[in-house]
Assembly symmetry: D3
């Protein structure tokens, strides 16, 4: 695995990058339903969907979330000084349909000391996923736990 | 789809339920890597894992998260008065390995008015996923947007 | 696993319930072909299908059968006093196409003593799967081997 | 598709053939659970299985059934004069575990006139699936609806 | 596994056979992307594809290649005297889209002694895969390492 | 999609890079068998494998080949001046088992003019895939069709 050392001090607020794009397909909806066991009618009951405002199946928010994470990691090196700490917020403002093409913009939005460990800090990167119309379909605040070079 | 009407007023802090259990397999790790495109070495490079404290591949946090959601929905009726609003917090305190068996405890932990829409409130349910040893492997705060019976 | 004890005596002829619905997709056809190894042209050779009365690929009867079973089990508790004994009849009267939405009606149609074991009886439940037009696409007679409370 | 014409008169009681073998894997269990939505603890809750006589997860009977059908069709020509009519009996006498290798013996066991259509007859082929120890794990009576050469 | 002994001497230049056909679906594109990790935009970014001469996603050449191999093996017996040596040439002259139906023509085009082992020879079979319009979509020269009956 | 322009003149013989590693699992063997339809006993009949020199199932050469390609593309930019022309050679010198971890070394080994189009040249990159012991498990000569900056 290709590594690239990046300490807490090396992250800068406002750093940003954009991922490649991926088209969501009906297969993605079915694969996520199968793997998660989430067969709610919003995703896999086309007749029920016809009675709803969005008219046709939408992909699970968690599938968009997982694919967002995958897009962010394509070709990224491993940072031996950081690890995922969790998420502080996830929102799904606009539904994603089969045929939509999504990509992700990732921006560093916050840096702060870890409340208990003086050797590490917490970095928040905001992932904003958009569809081919530029609509925001997902926002996620990913928190990284990163070692300090000079604690 | 079986429906069960539940208004904002019907949720009570402390309400709790436990899901069925599911054993995580190597197949689950590979299926999630394939679907998300996340092939980080923690999950799919067994040689690299041998050099790490956890020694063998761990499943992606997002896979545990998706499976947690699926377990919570098995056999649950659709509530026509509520919808998912997002997540306010996700943490992965303990890694999950192939062979671990997980289940989820869901508890209503917060109720509050929606800041802008007086017709709806926000309900937070805490999902706590544990493995066969009783260790907490995932905590997620799921926020529901629920209609009020008497706004 | 949530359990619900139900002895032979507790089953009543005529008991009935209906499952949630699921839309069959092209993905389901391909996944079943892949898993079973059944690539007969009815399912996966669209050109050959054009020469047949049904004109386009149909899903494998066994796939409809497996999905029928899955729909019947969603949210059902485990009965510690019963187990599957087998099937006495399966018919596929109408083909299922990608885009069709199916659900299952399950009815207890027969109760009888087990020919050899006086401690158990045999219960037959009829699963009738219908599409969105109300056409019957599958009928299966599932036999359960159930312990008697008072043998 | 390679075709081989075979009329009702061409089938003989006692005709028999044996398929290739296939090893059932943990992946097969998970793929069937995912596709069918059948996550009963017998198949996917290893902790619960430890409390049962069979001690470890067993594959779904319907998965063995689907794979049996697939094995029977590998390399078989299409018979333009016959089609599947359904099944009259399916039994699962011995459980199948990950690691077991199964194959199928197919024998013509019955020929009879169709009760209503004088142009066709019904052929029953018995599929007997065995594991690597020679134990019978599945028996299925498959009924074919076959055109008569000389009605 | 059904075996059929075929020595080097038994192969004849010009021997030819045609496989069954299989329709390529969107699912096949996604499954191959997932399994290989090849998410190049030609296959899974429908928006980018609109800017290209071929206008819509095409399946990966390697997927066509793998499916070609699978079609060639359906129902083929195992030859205990031969094994795959490798490929000497693969070309993808025409793209394959979801909805195309492909089949393969296999012809023995070359026989020669193995340069070092006098007990074996090398047989080249040419696999030519065509779509429903008769266009050649793949050519592969498969080399077999085959034992001689009379070295 | 991130692009990086690279003309024929920009490739240099001897240029080399190494990909990330990926552990091959039993799931990968089954997924490839399912997708390709190649259920030869070398891959999916564990009993037959016990009678062979390699003793246990090996993954399909084509699966190693597809995964090799995927590893090579992870994080690679799109070159708008080049496209895949095909393969001139593929060999599988050592079998790959579930549990092996593979990575790929890619080296430019040949540059030549295209025989007919003076505007383009042919670049051969050699992909050498090795396992965790350093054994070469696959060699593939991939030919790229690349535009010249100054034809």
């Amino acid at each position: 695995m290709r590594e690239e050392a990046k300490f807490f001090e090396d992250f800068e607020i406002g750093e940003t990058r954009t991922t490649d794009a991926r088209t969501i397909t009906e297969t993605d909806i079915v694969v996520h339903a199968m793997h998660s066991g989430d067969w709610m009618p919003h995703h896999t009951d086309a007749e029920w969907c016809k009675t709803q405002p969005f008219k046709k199946p939408i992909i699970h928010g968690n599938a968009t979330f997982s694919i967002t994470t995958g897009l962010c990691l394509q070709g990224e090196p491993l940072n031996p000084h950081g690890m995922s700490y969790g998420y502080d917020k996830i929102r799904f403002p606009v539904p994603v349909f089969a045929g939509d093409t999504i990509k992700v913009n990732v921006t560093i939005i916050e840096k702060k000391d870890h409340p208990k460990k003086s050797t590490h800090g917490l970095i928040t990167e905001e992932k904003v996923t958009t569809n081919q119309k530029g609509e925001v379909v997902l926002v996620a605040h990913h928190v990284l736990f990163v070692e300090k070079r000079n604690p």
